[in-house]
């Protein structure tokens, strides 16, 4: 058996268990009747046949209605759980994942990097923010009952809360080329103190590592973003009028079209790569695109920096 390593994996197993029971019942009915009729009504058997039922529509309506009711129940069950599986709690710890042929690159907010491994604390909701550098990959951890395609040019997220320490399979389950079967790794769930220890002694030598946000700030300066958005992202840099970035993450942004969007990872990513797409109300579409100038990991650091502006520099 595979371990049930998260809270939700138990619920997914209940759903699968219910489906197994329903299937076994229907299979027993269908195979049972077929075998019974094969035995009872084979040619040459003396069984009493009686008149065939002429009112077949009564049977038809009865079993159609019963089937529909059962199916609708299963649909509701599966759908309810799915909605919960894809809506992360607000306090989830975000970890970044980049897929490329044929490795998983993981970066923690503190700047710790890993390849084909993901260390995480138990008892705390974790949200993965994932993208791909080339083809479609799929991040799958069977012990957590989770799976999500990782697409180039987009952020996809999944979340889960591991419950017991252990090491579990990590698979890429979307065909991604010759090395597909080797794009595997392990997810290591650790107790909170162990995880803290791992973070401090982590894969990068202590001292040389900077947090993602700090690296993002360096990039922010180097790419010239501060020229318009201000050195601290307060929106007062230079002659050009640019929106303030402080407190932006997580807020509702009013666009020039009148629409309102939530400023999340997806919005920030698109605003850097395709700044003409969603223009903030009251501003000119003059920002150049940084598409092709920053790679996926740099983008994630820029976004980590923008996120950090929300917490520490909000007036």
């Amino acid at each position: 058996m595979i371990p049930q390593a998260t809270k939700d994996s138990v619920e997914v197993d209940y759903l699968i268990g219910a489906l197994v029971l329903a299937s076994v019942a229907i299979l027993a009915l269908v195979y049972g009747l077929i075998l019974l009729y094969m035995f009872r009504y084979h040619a040459g058997s003396k069984a009493e046949r009686g008149r065939p039922s002429r009112k077949s529509w009564r049977f038809e309506i009865a079993w159609t209605a019963a089937t529909m009711a059962a199916f609708f129940g299963l649909f509701l069950w599966g759908a309810d759980l799915y909605v919960r599986l894809f809506q992360a709690p607000a306090n989830a710890l975000q970890i970044y994942v980049v897929g490329k042929q044929w490795i998983w690159k993981v970066e923690h907010p503190g700047g710790q990097k890993e390849i084909n491994a993901l260390h995480l604390p138990i008892g705390r909701p974790i949200q993965l923010v994932m993208t791909s550098q080339d083809v479609i990959h799929d991040f799958s951890v069977p012990a957590f009952r989770i799976k999500r395609d990782v697409l180039p040019g987009r952020y996809e997220t999944i979340w889960f809360e591991a419950q017991r320490p252990g090491s579990y399979h990590l698979f890429c389950t979307q065909l991604c080329g010759a090395g597909h079967a080797t794009m595997t790794g392990e997810v290591v769930a650790m107790s909170a103190p162990d995880f803290e220890k791992w973070l401090s002694q982590g894969p990068a030598p202590t001292g040389a590592r900077e947090s993602m946000a700090a690296e993002g700030q360096v990039l922010f300066m180097r790419l010239g973003c501060s020229g318009c958005h201000g050195a601290k992202g307060e929106g007062s840099g230079g002659a050009v009028k640019a929106p303030a970035l402080v407190g932006l993450y997580g807020s509702q942004v009013k666009l020039s079209t009148g629409a309102v969007v939530k400023s999340d990872d997806r919005y920030l990513r698109d605003s850097i790569l395709q700044p003409d797409k969603e223009i903030v109300a009251g501003y000119e579409p003059i920002m150049p695109s940084f598409s092709g100038q920053v790679d996926e990991e740099q983008l994630m650091r820029l976004i980590a920096y923008l996120k950090s502006l929300k917490a520490k520099e909000k007036p």
Binding site: V30, A43, F71, Y82, C172, T173, G177, A178, A181
Partner: protein, 532 residues
């Protein structure tokens, strides 16, 4: 030798330029049998590779090319055409009481298109193959694959036209060529199911053709349709692809429903239970099948709301399938059941298709799908539907109408043995894969963690049994051509116009146009006289 369509000219030219639907059906029968065995050999090599967790073929590239070839050949050059182009081509005019299909020359053209597509795909496989899987997901296919993607896609594009032409031909024939007295509700279910199939073929195949054309353009000219680095959307391809390929599942399975709906009444000597419900279930499946493509993308990045809608609709399409299963079982009640090979295959079909359908509920249930999709559970599920279901139905039909097609009886004992071996081998091959999938083994892995080895070994052993089961009919059916007993016009005491003409039928099918005076499946409700 009795004069028949088989004796009407012996030259190669009389076969290659024939417009007789029966001879074209024979041409197709030979072609798809060839493709079935090519796809089957690839499958055998895949199962051989998976005996060991390290992969016995020693190369992931070769493994990827083999499963791509297995998928492409089996889906487009066997499962989609199989029943319509062989049994359908042979039987539609006979069951309608007509002399030929509505467009005999278009029918011949369809076969040539099919062969050009088939030879092109084989050529692409010989010069290096493709490593993208039969689904051709972008941007792997458009930017990163090293295989002969464009050639393979062109082959499928060409064979798509064969599919469209066949579908059109069937629709027009069924509308215009029914014998006097054959109202829509006196039409056998086999014709109804091919009618529904043809509607899907004609409406869905052009979408596939356009999608593949865009794919080829993107690969050659790097236009930004699917490639995100130039502004395309990688999910768009999946939407377009599954808009064809999900209805295509019903192109594969609906004709099987038709075959079984003929055989179970014949060998139960009883009217088909709930004829009208079975007919309208086919139409309902054809319509709803267009609305469920998004259930292939529950973890691919479609929105939450699309996922909910597609899940609900997927349950909706399962209802008519369930109705059919209940009706087949209902038909056996109070019957006089004979266990000739076609009936054994048909009963096998009902069992395996039910299994495939029920496991479809697992992947339609959203949260369960998240865990099970992209694993061996899905592989097992669709093989139960398409191989367990569809291939069993095809074999059922082939045995049922073999005396009509060839004028020879196949050896009954061998037929029954093969039916039982196939059923057992199939379950041994694919049932362990449900468990493997639940345990998390991803599909399309050339090598895998060692704990999955025992179940894979079991599955590969089953594949060996299944291979024997599939080779047996090849042997005894060919044997029957030379040594089989001559078949009477109606060896099974079945109803239907095709049994009212000699076996094999003369070129013009019927000496005089038959007239239909009663609904189909008017069986006498008593023991049939045992066949001679």
């Amino acid at each position: 030798m009795r004069p028949s369509y088989l004796t009407d000219g012996f030259s190669l030219r009389s076969w290659l330029l024939t417009t007789d639907h029966k001879r074209i059906a024979i041409l197709y029968l030979g072609s798809i049998t060839l493709f079935f065995f090519i796809g089957g050999v690839a499958a055998a090599l895949l199962r051989y590779n998976l005996i060991s967790s390290r992969g016995l073929l020693g190369s992931a590239e070769i493994y990827n090319k083999l499963f791509s070839m297995h998928g492409v050949v089996m889906v487009w050059f066997f499962l989609v055409p199989a029943v319509p182009v062989t049994l359908g081509n042979f039987l539609i005019p006979l069951m309608l009481g007509a002399r030929d299909l509505a467009f005999p020359r278009l029918n011949l053209l369809s076969w040539y298109l099919f062969m050009i597509g088939g030879i092109t795909v084989l050529y692409a496989m010989i010069i290096g193959g493709v490593d993208t899987g039969w689904t051709f997901y972008t941007p792997l296919t458009t930017l990163y694959s090293n295989g002969h993607v464009v050639l393979a896609v062109v082959a499928i594009f060409i064979s798509g036209f064969s599919s469209i032409a066949t579908g059109l031909n069937f629709i027009v024939s069924i509308h215009k060529l029914r014998a006097p007295g054959m109202s829509w509700h006196r039409m056998p279910v086999f014709l109804w199911s091919l009618y529904a199939t043809s509607v899907i073929m004609v409406l869905a195949t052009p979408v596939l053709a356009m999608t593949l054309l865009l794919l080829a353009f993107e690969r050659i000219f790097h236009i930004g349709v699917f490639d995100p680095s130039v502004g395309g959307d990688p999910l768009l391809f999946q939407h377009l692809f599954w808009f064809y390929s999900h209805p295509a599942v019903y192109i594969m399975i609906l004709p099987g429903f038709g075959v079984v709906s003929e055989i179970i009444p014949a060998f139960s000597s009883k009217e088909l239970f709930g004829y009208k419900f079975v007919v309208w279930a086919s139409i309902a499946i054809a319509v709803i099948s267009f609305l469920v493509w998004g259930h292939h993308m529950f973890v691919a990045g479609e929105s939450l709301y699309s996922a909910l809608v597609f899940s609900l609709l997927s349950y909706a399409v399962a209802v008519p399938s369930a109705i059919k299963v209940f009706n087949w079982v209902g038909t056996m009640h109070n019957g006089y059941i004979r266990f000739d090979a076609p009936m054994l295959y048909a009963i096998g079909f009902v069992g395996l298709f039910t299994m495939g359908g029920l496991t479809g509920l697992f992947v339609a249930a959203l949260a369960a799908d998240v865990h099970l999709t992209q694993t061996y559970f899905v592989v097992a599920h669709f093989h139960y539907v398409m191989v367990g279901g569809m291939v069993s139905a095809y074999f059922a039909g082939l045995h049922f109408w073999w005396p009509k097609i060839t004028g020879k009886m196949y050896p009954e004992m061998w037929g029954r043995a093969a039916a039982i071996i196939i059923f057992a081998g199939f379950n041994l091959t694919f049932f362990p894969q449900f468990i493997l999938g639940y345990l998390g083994m991803p599909r399309r892995y050339a090598s895998y963690p060692v704990e999955y080895e025992p179940l894979n070994l079991l599955s590969s052993a089953g594949a060996a049994v299944l291979a024997v089961g599939y080779l047996l009919p090849l042997g005894y059916l060919i044997w029957s051509l030379m040594y089989g007993k001559d078949a009477p016009a109606n060896p099974w005491h079945a109803t239907g116009l095709e049994w009212k003409t000699p076996s094999p039928p003369p070129t013009e099918n019927f000496p005089a146009t038959p007239v239909v005076t009663e609904p189909p499946y008017q069986y006498p409700l008593k023991e049939a006289v045992s066949h001679e």
